[in-house]
């Protein structure tokens, strides 16, 4: 297993009031994303556990793109990866922040 961690400063806090949300499933070509609103408003961390080694640069680009698009301030994001493609990863991340926005907790 390889673990990769990124820390970003965001423009704004993530919308919504949900405390935590989980989306996706750890299956082949899929991943689960756990989002927790536990960080200061303009910080975001993304920690990835993946069995597929050597794709750190791809993860870095996808996460940076996601942070730029979604501005997920305050979120600690944890990923268990089942070998998902970058486009699947991006969709799950966006689904996660969207669910945090819609959910009430």
């Amino acid at each position: 297993m390889e673990t990769i961690k990124f820390r970003h400063v965001t423009r704004a806090p993530a919308a919504g009031t949900a405390g935590s949300v989980i989306v996706g499933v750890v299956g082949s070509g899929n991943l689960e994303v756990l989002l927790e609103r536990t960080l200061p408003d303009t910080e975001c961390t993304v920690e990835i556990a993946t069995p597929v080694r050597g794709y750190g640069e791809v993860w870095k680009a996808v996460v940076a793109d996601f942070v730029e698009r979604a501005s997920p301030g305050g979120l600690r994001i944890s990923i268990n990866d089942g070998g998902a493609r970058p486009d699947t990863v991006m969709l799950r991340l966006l689904q996660g922040v969207r669910t945090m926005e819609a959910g009430h907790e």
Partner: protein
Amino acid sequence: MSDTKHSASDTASWFLSTARERLAGLLDSGSFTEFLPPTERAMSPHLALFDLPAAFDDGMIVGRGELEGHEVLVAAQEGQFMGGTFAEVSGAKLVGLLRAVRDDAKLPRTVLLLLDSGGVRLQEANAGELAVAEVMRAIVEARAAGVTVIALVGGRAGAFGGAGLTAATCSRIVLSEQGRTGVTGPEVIETNKGVEEFDSQDKALVWSVTGGRSRRLIGGADAYCGDTVAAFRQAALAVMDRVPAFDLATLQAEQVRLAARVKRLGACESAAQMWSALAIPDSQSVRNMDDEAFTALVAGVEGADHDAR
């Protein structure tokens, strides 16, 4: 009383949904409280040794909620994660739930098990086998304490191996056509006895033998429902109040029923032969009729309904 509070997810396929989607659709909106949620990170300590990813809930979601206003405890397996398998953590979560309901009369008296599992997780086989044994004992002890345990089976992994055994210890089993149950799964039979014995790639064969329709016709399930979240909710509600006493008389009646079933169907070599032996006119049509027609058919088949389990 199906009002608008479920409407969005009512028509969703049970088979295609994730465990969390099933729970969200099954229970009354906003009523679910999860025990040991993903944020607790109760994860498998073993999978990393095999270079396999873990899941934050280890593929087992346990908690409590309401089903059309009835308080229930629930446990749901995620069939897409490691085949929904019983392992150290996933098993302990289920055993803990069942022992809690056994010991604490203040907890809801109904447990819904959303089984979706191929059995024991081979990477954690010893812990998984122990978990299955503990789950079965806990179910029996909970039932002896007056708890109703209902298995809902309609997921991709079915309920095989330890999950098949677990289903068989429940008060009631609800199956959809896609909801296969059994002890030894099709691939395992083929691996051990050869493709001539059982061709696991032959989906028509697999479904006709292990699928919900055959199981329902021979009394291996107590209710048959369509592949939607709403259908499973209605079926669970319908069987919740029709649970037999868990006593010696019930077990003896079940033994008599099973002995009669072996006598009647034991020589059959295919599901179609069993359907013929059950005096179903045009037995081949069992595969093709719609859910409503099938439900009507079951009502007229001797031995499909029984109060013993």
